[in-house]
Symmetry: C2
Subunit: 364 residues, 2 copies
């Protein structure tokens, strides 16, 4: 019994004859800037992608949004994380107070921060004012007080999974801007992400699981045992047309499901979608399985230290911008890569061409 989910309509970024003409023109503009062809490396491909997303050779960004989805995971009872589950809600409070890494980098780069309670295993305290209003940065979309333990049953019911994806879409619809960065907080969510990836890519989960926030060797063995058990229990979820939603239901997290919905909605809106680390990439994988053209709108911002991230990016055919050995999540890697998108936009707009600058070209 599963809910069939219909993703919002997403047009491939390069679709119409006009789109193709723009792409050709952009490539030419980039090639005739005063530099050897290709000398700006990944920034050149990035500029092309951004221009195609925006259907313009003038790339502009407005009111960029950082949305952090927080949720808890039933599988933490298996001892898969080095940190206690309470850290999820504590870190949400830290984010709402502006003290987490994501806040620091969002301030640096002018991103508005929204924290979404996707399913934290505690009632989050109301905003500290006389009327007990919700905190102005917090959106309440709690599906449940954490998922169930995927070693024992499905993490969610099918209707919870559909509800979570829909909530992610709704969150994005409520936010302005043409750039969406996605982050997450959830103790245990590298386990969920590894299971989502392993099931959808049909890989042994031990090949793609990592140490998360820092398990030692003994703890890691325990995590792997739990993940193997969950993978075996839900092996059938990856079969059939409804595999993406079935896998989310079986082993996903509320924050992962909401990120999936948020990515789909943002792609449908032709927003630039900034993909952070391993967990966000797992959500991106689900989104791309539901709507392959969603990938056109995704910028893969970094390759993190989590063991499975390299294989996940390769599976997605994604080339990340940064490789700083991050393993924090929250969207921090997406924000750290952000200035490179601005650089890509600016070089297209501002650099002189060989002709305009009177610079000789390559002799061939």
């Amino acid at each position: 019994l599963t809910h069939t989910f219909h993703p919002p309509p997403i047009v491939p970024a390069r679709h119409s004859a006009q789109d193709i003409a723009l792409h050709t023109q952009l490539q030419r503009t980039i090639d005739f800037k005063t530099k050897p062809q290709g000398a700006l490396g990944q920034l050149e491909a990035l500029a092309l992608q951004l221009g195609c997303i925006q259907q313009s050779s003038k790339i502009t960004f407005n009111t960029p949004q950082m949305v952090v989805f927080a949720g808890d995971h039933g599988i933490t009872v298996e001892g898969v994380s080095a940190f206690p589950q309470a850290v999820t809600q504590q870190m949400v409070a830290n984010m709402l107070a502006g003290g987490a890494a994501v806040n620091v980098f969002a301030r640096q780069h002018g991103f508005a921060v929204t924290v979404v309670d996707a399913g934290v295993a505690a009632q989050l305290p109301a905003h500290n004012d006389a009327h007990s209003h919700a905190h102005p940065l917090l959106l309440q979309h709690k599906i449940a007080l954490g998922t169930r333990n995927a070693c024992v049953t499905t993490a969610m019911t099918p209707s919870q999974a559909a509800q979570a994806v829909q909530a992610g879409m709704d969150v994005v619809r409520s936010l302005p801007g043409n750039v969406l960065a996605l982050g997450e907080m959830g103790i245990g969510n590298t386990s969920s992400a590894a299971l989502v990836f392993a099931l959808l890519a049909r890989l042994p989960v031990e090949d793609v699981a990592g140490r998360g926030t820092g398990l030692d060797d003994v703890q890691m063995q325990g995590k792997l045992a739990a993940l193997r058990k969950a993978q075996a229990l839900h092996a059938n979820a990856s079969i059939g047309d409804n595999a993406p939603m079935n896998v989310l239901t079986a082993v996903g997290g509320f924050e992962i499901a909401m990120m999936t919905g948020a990515m789909l909605q943002a792609a449908s809106d032709r927003r630039v979608v900034l993909i952070d680390g391993f967990i966000a990439s797992a959500a991106a994988l689900v989104a791309c399985k539901l709507s392959p053209q969603a990938k056109d709108y995704m910028v893969f911002c970094h390759i993190g230290a989590e063991h499975g991230h390299r294989a996940l990016l390769a599976h997605l055919g994604a080339q990340p911008l940064l490789g700083l050995g991050l393993r924090l999540g929250e969207g921090t890697g997406a924000l750290l890569a952000w200035p490179l998108l601005i650089s890509a936009a600016l070089f297209v707009q501002q650099m002189a061409s060989f002709e305009s600058a009177g610079v000789a070209q390559k002799t061939s």
Copy 2:
């Protein structure tokens, strides 16, 4: 007949008992931020380095400087570049007009740009005003109209090499700020940089030479033949205590020698020194051979596409921040990495600690 060069005094960044205490305190501050230990990856080591350079746990940057050294290379007559030599002066003009990639990224990040004529093979046109003043962004330190062909004789005289290094020091002394980014422009200078590296590291130059701005296979064979000839001619330059200056003299470029001096002076001033691509890294190698402690002040900003850069960074024991496949030079990679230094400073200043935020720590 060589000039013995005496580098300016450079104190190791972590030297006194106070420095060591600061380092310990900084490491502790970083470890107790609300994130798993090490979760910010290379940003954590970067923050430590910056704090030690500035001898403060509060890292601040002021009036960052981007200096581009331009020079021509006699070895270009051997056909080692895909572009004609005239491109050096044309690109200098482009930089002075604000149209090069380095200008775009310097504006993005608030760096003042200075272009130094270290030895361009043309009289650069005066500023286009009634009094033929020099252009306000241009510093004139021309040693000669390009170096000599290192396949035939030494690229410079010993006194030219010493003069160039000294000029680089003088340039930095004349500039404000506590951050120095270095860039270069010089058709043929990947050849010079490869020879400098090969001689100082005693490696076959064909192992460290690359395609520069984009040689095809046939052109590449010609470049390698020229480089082998030059390496054979100057093999003795790498012998003895004066090897760094002898190698610069034999196969260096005026812009490379000036960058070396600039790096040494900046380290002596305890400025943060941003190292760009292959050519800047070759200058950094010479600087570190002259004064190993200079490396404490260097941030290696990226690994470029030029073939030898990986080996050069490994030889220096340097871990670059970015890897975007750049092969442009000009200092562009240094500028693209710059926001990461700001992020490193900001997370130390602004992130909450486990204690201040009431977040539980890792269970062990």
